[in-house]
């Protein structure tokens, strides 16, 4: 369905809101746009649409704009919005459902480094059962290919700190049977999908 707006032609998917509701379990139709979520959101100024707008856009079925926005990747999951929402709308859960939908449907993430980081985070966990910071960081750079000066500066600061303070562990922790059980849980829950 398409209609004209001031900013051009808008495509609307009438089934989108229903699918998001089923997948997330979040009743976002209770929203009356009080903007409490947006006012308390620590990262709203780094988003192209603040959380209150995303809720409205989902209601309107603006699937392309919602899955293509930066908001669903920039959300820090700090849980401030849901804590303060007078209608108890679980926006962090909504964001999870939206970016999972985007990944599943092959939408190019507007902030691709974020899903790359989370996939990199899970890599040592899947292989060894626990996190290992050195392996995770290496994996992050392989996946994100983000070699921008500011990211390298943060990583170098952390890396140098870890080395000089003798905190780097090159070998992953041993978890015995735990490792195999975690591998099994990844297989069971992701059903063959790669994180």
């Amino acid at each position: 369905m398409q209609y004209e707006s001031k900013s051009g032609t808008v495509t609307c998917d009438p089934g989108f809101a229903g699918r998001v509701k089923d997948e997330s379990g979040v009743d976002f139709n209770r929203c009356y746009q009080c903007l409490t979520c947006t006012l308390g959101c620590p990262v709203a100024r780094y988003m192209d649409h603040p959380p209150s707008e995303i809720v409205r856009m989902v209601q309107l079925g603006l699937k392309g704009q919602v899955l293509g926005c930066s908001t669903i990747w920039v959300c820090a999951s700090c849980e401030s919005c849901v804590t303060r929402c007078p209608n108890e709308i679980n926006i962090p859960r909504l964001m999870d459902a939206l970016h999972q939908m985007a990944l599943r449907e092959g939408v190019k993430p507007k902030v691709a480094v974020v899903p790359a980081f989370h996939a990199a985070f899970m890599d040592p966990v899947r292989r060894f059962g626990r996190q290992n910071e050195a392996l995770m960081s290496a994996e992050h750079f392989l996946r994100s290919r983000d070699f921008s000066p500011k990211t390298l500066k943060v990583a170098a600061g952390l890396g140098i700190g870890m080395v000089t303070k003798g905190k780097i562990k090159l070998l992953p922790a041993r978890t015995g049977k735990g490792k195999d059980q975690v591998k099994h849980l990844f297989k069971e829950t992701l059903k063959g999908k790669k994180p």
Binding site: A76, C78, S80, T83, F117, H118, K150, L158, G166, H184
Partner: protein, 281 residues
């Protein structure tokens, strides 16, 4: 007091001083910790980011083992705390989730036993009088602010053992150790969490704001109860003169005169030792 202990990955990695201080302090306070055998990662922020089922199953594996031990679980990382509690809540509220988890885990799991953050246990179960009785070196004159961040208190229907907008548990504990715990406005602000490498501008700004609020009330250090918060606050502060960040467990250790406290401080990007030394500690 006996608990199953879930250290969490950070506490054996980059923030091992949080793990070490936790164990030493619990021993000194008479809180017996039994480490969950072959524990594994809870999935942290990335688990629920990628897949809801995975984010419930990874914590549940550890809690099923704790259930076999017949004990409530103690953890110290705020992210572990929320993920473990969220998984337990789903298992208890939704019989279908519980059946699915048991099938995936191949272990019985009812969610019978609770998950507690150490701060909650120390302040609300053990009590401040018991803590005061163990203080040999009061932290007199030390001006501090307590930073709770997000997951100790939010979302309140899952975690919160205190007022989610104005918690005071850590402030009361620090005051019981003799320090001057100052009121401030950023105690439940977000540090940026897992965005450190991916949205570093945002994290620099958020951390900068928190540190500015701490300086406004002339705090000499920020007290934390989460390895992620600590990592961000230490690593993402700008400028030369950085404010030290210190775990509440480390301060407990100092006040109780535990000999290992000096070793823990060596692992900080900015050591809190000089600030303590200025007060004869």
């Amino acid at each position: 007091m006996k608990y199953a202990y879930y250290p969490g990955c950070s506490q054996e990695g980059g923030e091992e001083h949080f793990g070490k201080s936790t164990e030493a302090v619990c021993h000194a306070l008479g809180i017996e910790l039994q480490e969950i055998h072959e524990w594994t990662c809870c999935g942290a922020s990335s688990g629920h980011f990628l897949n809801e089922d995975l984010s419930l199953a990874l914590p549940a594996r550890n809690l099923a083992i704790a259930e076999k031990m017949g004990l409530d679980t103690i953890c110290v990382c705020a992210a572990c705390y929320l993920r473990l509690k969220a998984s337990r809540r789903e298992a208890r509220h939704d019989p279908e989730v519980r059946r699915r988890l048991e099938a995936q885990l191949k272990m019985p799991y009812e969610g019978k036993h609770d998950v507690r953050h150490l701060l909650d246990v120390v302040v609300n179960d053990l009590g401040l009088d018991a803590v005061k009785a163990k203080v040999v070196k009061p932290l007199k004159g030390l001006k501090l602010v307590c930073y709770y961040g997000c997951y100790l208190m939010r979302p309140p229907e899952i975690v919160a053992f205190d007022n989610p907008e104005n918690p005071t548990a850590m402030d009361r504990l620090i005051a019981a150790l003799g320090a001057d715990a100052r009121d401030w406005s950023a105690k439940v602000d977000c540090c940026g969490g897992s965005l450190m490498l991916t949205q570093s501008d945002a994290v620099h700004d958020l951390v900068g704001g928190i540190v500015d609020r701490a300086r406004e009330v002339e705090a000499e250090a920020i007290v934390t109860a989460c390895p992620m918060c600590t990592m961000n606050l230490e690593a993402m502060q700008k400028g030369k003169d950085k404010l030290p960040i210190v775990y509440f467990t480390e301060l407990l250790g100092v006040a109780m005169g535990l000999p290992d406290a000096r070793k823990w401080f060596k692992k900080h990007l900015k050591s809190p030792a000089p600030v303590l030394a200025a007060h004869g500690l």
